[in-house]
């Protein structure tokens, strides 16, 4: 079975090698190779998740040679997301970017990020988790620098880099502290160990500070809108879809299992951060006119709602929290694809310039409308059920918190519907007549996203039950 691990770990690297040497076979083969790569990762993950660890909550397929890598129900879930998102990225890249030297460099960076992410989700060792967590940074940094058009991209990439790197120092020192206590950095040995309340407090705070930058929570969220605005469509999809989840996954994997006492006593620190950012960012949403920035702020709201679910103390909210991460990664990336469709045609992100787009492309506007509905968690969409679980979990603990959150989500509803009406229905702007409809691959891409959205919206138990089974140890 360890052959699966090896395939997963080294497939992206093989593809990078292939990009360099397959050019003599023509562009079609290159695309085929890339699709094959991502399909194996995505579908392999699905197959593994369905067949191999049906009722097992713990690690499987531990690599017995080095004892560093292993599968888990949750990591397989994120592996599937990585595969799907990378394939979306590759399709959109092949659609918009000419595969010249620059396009190839972008592809290599993309596959490099895929490699790093797969390693991150499969690693079973605290230090290794940290290493792969950080290794996404230089690649994203280069991706933003390659994709952006304006000079301000330098500033945003610096911000991305320095924010995460500076605060990950806390994470590193905490990891060293933990390994110093336990004497090993293996996750299974670290979970078993009994920590004193003071030790748990230190570990809790150290991890919380460093992961709240990646999520990102309110005082540390400044880098995210900048990075989104300057990144290309592909960079935005990756950032919103999977990079933000590293923070949640890190909390879930590294912090919660070893700090049960602090989870009861000190969860308020995390909750205050999350509430503050939800309220703050919901209000910012009302004034935002930049489309990418808007979706970036939406991601902050969703990820912080997920953070609330993680720390609310109810099992049902925990399931909802992981579900929110999954649903948000699909919905946000699909929305970024939509914005990419607009941006590639008109080179404008300011939504006030668009108007009456419904008249020229009703298909696109329908897709966009469904995705916007999913974005503010309309019933029977992908985003609805997990958030419902979070609210249900919150109602067990505090009605005041629940009312605050529900009140602030109204703002995000106003903002999404406002953005939709401004783009598709307000005063007709002339240049939208140049919108000649969707291309084939765009159509199928949006079909795929909306289809998945409806599938999981109508049958939520398919994945919520799956997550629930894997969270037995929490």
């Amino acid at each position: 079975m360890e052959i699966f691990l090896i395939i997963f770990l080294f497939l992206p690297l093989l593809s990078i090698f292939g990009i360099r040497h397959i050019t003599f076979l023509g562009l079609g083969n290159l695309k085929a190779l890339l699709y094959l790569n991502t399909m194996i990762i995505a579908q392999g993950g699905i197959i593994l998740s369905v067949f191999f660890n049906e009722y097992s909550p713990g690690y499987m397929f531990i690599d017995h040679y080095y004892n560093l890598y292993a599968f888990d129900g949750i990591s397989v879930l994120f592996l599937v997301i990585t595969g799907i998102l990378t394939s979306i990225c590759i399709i959109s890249l092949c659609e918009y970017v000419k595969i010249d030297q620059r396009g190839k460099t972008t592809l290599k960076l993309l596959l490099g990020i895929q490699f790093v992410l797969i390693n991150f989700f499969l690693s079973k060792d605290f230090l290794l988790l940290y290493i792969w967590f950080e290794a996404t940074l230089p690649l994203l940094f280069l991706l933003i620098l390659l994709g952006g058009e304006r000079n301000i991209k330098l500033r945003s990439s610096y911000m991305l880099f320095l924010y995460t790197l500076f605060f990950s120092f806390f994470s590193l020192s905490t990891i060293l502290y933990v390994t110093g206590i336990v004497g090993s950095s293996d996750i299974l040995e670290i979970i078993i160990f009994d920590y004193t309340p003071l030790q748990q407090y230190v570990i809790f705070l150290g991890f919380l500070i460093s992961f709240s930058v990646k999520i990102p929570s309110a005082p540390f969220h400044v880098w995210l809108p900048h990075a989104h605005v300057e990144a290309s469509t592909l960079g935005s999809i990756l950032l919103a879809g999977i990079i933000l989840k590293l923070g949640g996954y890190g909390i879930f994997r590294m912090m919660l299992p070893i700090t049960p006492i602090s989870y009861d006593l000190d969860a308020n620190y995390a909750l205050i951060l999350a509430y503050l950012s939800v309220i703050n960012v919901s209000l910012i949403l009302l004034t935002e006119i930049d489309l990418k920035r808007l979706i970036a702020y939406f991601s902050i709201v969703h990820m912080n709602i997920s953070l609330i679910g993680l720390f609310s103390g109810a099992k049902i909210a925990l399931v909802g929290s992981v579900g929110t991460m999954v649903s948000h990664s699909l919905v946000a990336s699909a929305l970024f694809v939509c914005i990419g469709i607009l941006y590639e045609r008109f080179q404008i992100r300011n939504m006030t310039y668009y108007g009456g787009l419904f008249n020229t492309s009703s298909t696109f506007s329908t897709f966009f409308f469904i995705l916007i509905l999913a974005n503010f968690s309309f019933p029977l969409t992908f985003g609805f059920w997990p958030e419902l679980l979070i609210y249900a979990g919150l109602s067990l603990t505090s009605y005041f918190d629940l009312s605050v959150i529900l009140f602030s989500t109204i703002f995000s509803l106003i903002a999404s519907i406002g953005a939709f009406t401004k783009i598709f229905f307000c005063k007709l702007s002339l240049f939208v007549f140049f919108f000649k409809g969707l291309t084939n691959s765009e159509f199928y891409l949006l079909n795929l996203s909306v289809g998945l959205n409806f599938l999981f919206g109508f049958m939520p138990m398919t994945y919520l039950e799956y997550i629930n089974r894997r969270l037995i140890f929490c």
Partner: protein, 423 residues
């Protein structure tokens, strides 16, 4: 006969000197029918072979120290390890000469002087006598002066004169320390001084001895470019060609670190004093290097201040005076040296024949990504490694450093924290 047999310990130096002399005689007087590139390769190969031989010596004398020729020379395992590292790094630095832009009219002289300087460094590790130590260091410094001025930058005279005067100041202080040691211990021999030092440092002479010890350390601290002696650093780095900057940053520092560590063995009674000095100077170096690096427009100056920080860290590691500290210091130094060589190799490869980029101004290096070249990516990787981003080598050296510092005491973390601002 037995005395002659002991020559096998001196073979690296002897072969290094004689071999290089022959090669260069061949180089200067018969260049009409010998391909100069061939000589360059030979020189590198020769250094490499001697490195292999030194490795062999190390496996022979893993545990013991050998004193020979009337206590004139001493070989310890630490010496051999440092020698291996030195020769390895010197070989790597010579690799930069293979780049087309480094191939200029005066490369023969540069190569010759570099090898002679390396010989001086090698022999300075071997000797057990302060006079001989002085002579070999002087030999290496003579080469270094010429190397510092041997380029086409406009401000090279200023930097070279700065280097020259600083070195001579330090040499004068070095004389003073020799006189002082002779005054205190009535010998120039390191072994005899070592035997007497326990007694003398605890007597009334201690204050004098510590002063002379300071004088001795000053020279090596100057070579390693630690804070009070760092003023030449940025200027010399800025005004030399890439290969020589790599030489100054890597080979010269390796020897300085060796002597800074070896002094623990000579004066074990002064352990606290030496350790505290290193610690304080290292910390100040880290802080000054960190805050000077901002607002610099020249890549080589940035590198100079960054290397000041690295030196500070290595000095703090050496200050422990223990085997673990030295092991970590060596690992850190090797990762730093490999990074530096990669940095200068890529920097040199960007330069054109006219050397318009030779000053390393950041403005000249703008938009390297437009070149669509693997070199740009490699350069970025090198810089990321310096910044300590995982999974590159620079990260692991800093990781081990932090682990070690956590064991030693928590306040040390501060220095690393300062370092974090470095990029």
């Amino acid at each position: 006969m037995k005395d002659l047999f002991i020559f096998y310990l001196l073979m690296p130096e002897i072969f290094f000197l004689i071999g290089n002399l022959f090669l260069f005689l061949f180089l200067f007087f018969s260049s009409s029918y010998a391909n100069p590139k061939y000589i360059r390769e030979c020189s590198m190969f020769f250094t490499f072979l001697i490195n292999i031989y030194t490795l062999f010596l190390y496996f022979l004398n893993k545990k013991t120290s050998i004193v020979f020729f009337h206590q004139m020379f001493i070989i310890t395992p630490y010496t051999l390890i440092f020698k291996i590292i030195l020769l390895f790094l010197a070989t790597l630095v010579l690799l930069i000469l293979f780049l087309p832009s480094a191939y200029e009219t005066r490369w023969r002289e540069t190569l010759f002087i570099m090898q002679i300087t390396t010989f001086g460094f090698l022999s300075s590790m071997l000797v057990a006598n302060f006079i001989l130590l002085y002579l070999s260091l002087e030999l290496s410094s003579l080469g270094a002066y010429i190397l510092a001025i041997d380029n086409s930058a406009k401000t090279r005279f200023e930097s070279a004169i700065k280097y020259f005067f600083f070195t001579y100041d330090c040499f004068c202080i070095f004389y003073l320390s020799l006189i002082g040691f002779y005054d205190g211990f009535a010998s120039f021999n390191i072994l005899e001084i070592h035997a007497l030092s326990d007694f003398n440092f605890s007597q009334t002479l201690a204050a004098n001895n510590i002063f002379y010890l300071q004088c001795y350390l000053a020279y090596h601290l100057f070579k390693a470019a630690v804070v009070p002696f760092h003023l030449w650093l940025a200027d010399v780095y800025e005004n030399t060609t890439s290969i020589l900057t790599a030489y100054f940053a890597v080979v010269s520092k390796c020897v300085a670190f060796y002597h800074l560590f070896a002094i623990f063995g000579v004066f074990p009674a002064a352990y606290l004093f030496i350790s505290n000095t290193y610690w304080a100077l290292g910390l100040i170096s880290i802080i000054i290097g960190t805050f000077s690096v901002f607002k610099q427009t020249n890549l080589k100056r940035i590198f100079a201040f960054s290397s000041l920080t690295h030196t500070g860290i290595i000095l703090i590691l050496i200050s422990s005076g223990t085997r673990e500290g030295l092991t970590l210091a060596l690992f850190y130094f090797i990762s730093y040296a490999l990074g530096s060589i990669a940095f200068f190799t890529t920097l040199e490869s960007f330069m054109n024949k006219e050397k318009t980029l030779s000053l390393g101004l950041l403005d000249h290096l703008k938009s390297l990504a437009q070149l669509r070249d693997i070199r740009g990516f490699l350069f970025a990787l090198t810089l990321f490694s310096f910044a300590g981003i995982p999974p590159l080598l620079g990260f692991f050296s800093k990781l081990f450093l932090v682990e070690y510092l956590v064991q030693e005491g928590f306040f040390f973390i501060f220095s690393y924290f300062c370092y974090l601002y470095n990029f």
